[in-house]
């Protein structure tokens, strides 16, 4: 047949496989060595508990309230924090989009990312601590006292630190989605008689929803794996004993790597369920380009 005479290289190129494809190899190897292998190893390890049964670790986890309650504790932190960041980021992004000094504002808002969670936590311990400026100011104003307002070593300490470190990330993503919507669409809606609230409801929100879903997922995953601030700013023995702390203790305090792996798997599964759920809901919305024409 004639097909035989076409060189292999040409046939591969027709399927999009050519020299450039080779550039993927280093990243693929890295992914294999640093993610796929350790993940598979952990997955297999989680099915080899100390007692020798197959599901021992998982039975153990879901029968011990000290362990399974960490799922709820973590969700109780991650979901409200992510929602708050998202709800705060949308109006700020709308305002910043129209600003002339957009870059300056963005830089200031994004600064906390560069500081890292530990530095933020240390700062907060001083600022929000019993002898910190915040509480002292409240005391002077007569609004509160070190005994009535506690913002560190509890739920709120971790909550605040997640807001501070998570907001810039959420904001940046939101800003890019908001800027992606053609200004002419808003103008068109206005000439047709839509007031600001109606424009937001009928034009912006439906076009933004898919992007906000992605932003929610990424921000949520970040918040869900909270560890340093839960230890430094929270009450790691009780109210902020998040799932990553449980995994850490299993691995490095009980030296039960198998249980630790199982906890990590459960942690991953919870994240996956939330992310998949949110992404599926995205299908309810229009997902094409947010411009007014073919361009």
């Amino acid at each position: 047949m004639n097909q035989q005479s076409i060189p292999l290289r040409t046939r591969l190129a027709a399927h999009g496989i050519d020299g450039v494809t080779m550039l993927v190899i280093p990243a693929a190897l890295l992914l294999l060595a640093l993610f796929i292998y350790p993940f598979s190893y952990g997955f297999v390890l989680s099915f080899h508990p100390k007692d020798g049964s197959l599901f021992g670790n998982y039975e153990n986890f879901f029968s011990d309230p000290f362990l399974y309650k960490t799922i709820y504790t973590t969700l109780a932190l991650a979901v409200p924090v992510t929602l708050l960041n998202l709800i705060a980021a949308v109006p700020v992004a709308f305002r910043v989009r129209r600003m002339r000094h957009q870059r300056l504002i963005t830089t200031i808002l994004v600064l906390p990312i560069t500081l890292g969670t530990v530095l933020v936590a240390e700062g907060m311990l001083n600022y929000f601590g019993p002898q910190g400026w915040f509480i002292r100011t409240l005391t002077i104003l007569g609004i509160g006292s070190p005994s009535s307002v506690r913002l560190v070593h509890n739920y709120w300490g971790v909550f605040l630190s997640l807001v501070i470190t998570g907001f810039p990330f959420t904001f940046l993503l939101t800003l890019s989605y908001v800027s992606g919507i053609d200004v002419a669409l808003e103008n068109a809606a206005a000439t047709l008689g839509a007031r600001a609230a109606a424009r937001f409801r009928t034009i912006f929100l439906p076009l933004l929803a898919p992007g906000l879903a992605i932003t929610f997922c990424l921000s949520f995953v970040q918040a869900y794996s909270v560890f340093p601030s839960a230890v430094l700013l929270g009450a790691p023995a009780g109210p902020t004993r998040v799932i990553s702390i449980a995994a850490y203790q299993a691995a490095f305090e009980q030296y039960d790597y198998s249980l630790a792996s199982a906890i990590a798997m459960i942690m991953g599964a919870v994240q996956l369920i939330v992310v998949v759920g949110v992404l599926l809901s995205r299908n309810l919305f229009y997902r094409g380009p947010a411009a007014g024409a073919k361009g």
Partner: protein
Amino acid sequence: MDTQTTFQSLRLEKVGRTFGTMNALQDLSLEIKRGEFIALLGPSGCGKSTALNCIAGLLTTTSGSIWLDDKRIDTLAVEDRGFGMVFQNYALFPHMSVRSNIGFGLRMRGLPKADIEKRVDEAIRTVRLESQAHKLPGQLSGGQQQRVAIARAIAIDPPLVLMDEPLSNLDAKLRLEMRREIRRIHKDLGGVTIYVTHDQDEALSLADRIVVLRDGVIRQVGTPEDLYLRPAHIDVAEFMGFRNRFDGTLIGGKTVMPMNGASADFDGTIFEGVAVNTLAVGAVTAAIRPDDLVPVTARAKGIDALVESIEYRGHDFFGTARTEKNIELFFRSDRTLSAGTKIRLGADPAKVLFYNGASV
């Protein structure tokens, strides 16, 4: 809505808009009667889009006022003006079907559902999109998207339809077709259409009156015939296709009144022509269309030049030539000429326009 459709005129009184220190629009005064099709014509940056956006309310004015009969509208918010606007990039809502796009303005007005359906059907029929009504904008061709944009703007039955270079994204054939459509729709509506364009052909063929803007200032307002035959300003002449311009000196030693004949010396070449404005003794500028500058015999009056290039354009040949003084000329010829040929180019004095002063 009855009061809006029975208005008599739209008046702009000394409307101005500045951006920082730049005057994008200065003292724009204009009265437009119901039923008129007005084109705002000018090169990019002349202020035509600024003017349109000020009327629409998308830009606030910095001076002057705009009136619909005796109702002042420049102080109203965009959404309260009720004008239909067609955007250059159409600005269709990508997540809504064609029907939904067209009905948007009516829904915002809180009309009963049955009314909305009826008027959307009407608008869809007007732009002949019956078979596409349930598609999303992304599934339509450029021309169809344009029709949706027009239907959406006219569905609210606006007293004023504003169009911002609506045909600039379409190919040549579709552009001619849509021109006819736009004219027909304007006639059907019976309101005012204000149409922004940089294309003089579009303005000439569509408009009842053309407003030529330059640097934010009105240069001329007139019918297409006025503008085509007697552009009042050298800038307008250039825009109307008078590509040849010569700087020269008036001969005769006395002032020439408008519409009288005059002759002038252009570096040794004498041209006879018609004065457009009052010519004072001294510098004058002559403007000639390429159409009217043709090869003449060696004994006739004309300007000598060497042919540089020539191209066939259906009926005639059009070419460029260069004089000894390095002036580029655009001319018409009924036969082809090879590059480097020495020719003399002349024009009928009735087709040569003289403007007072030097061209720059």
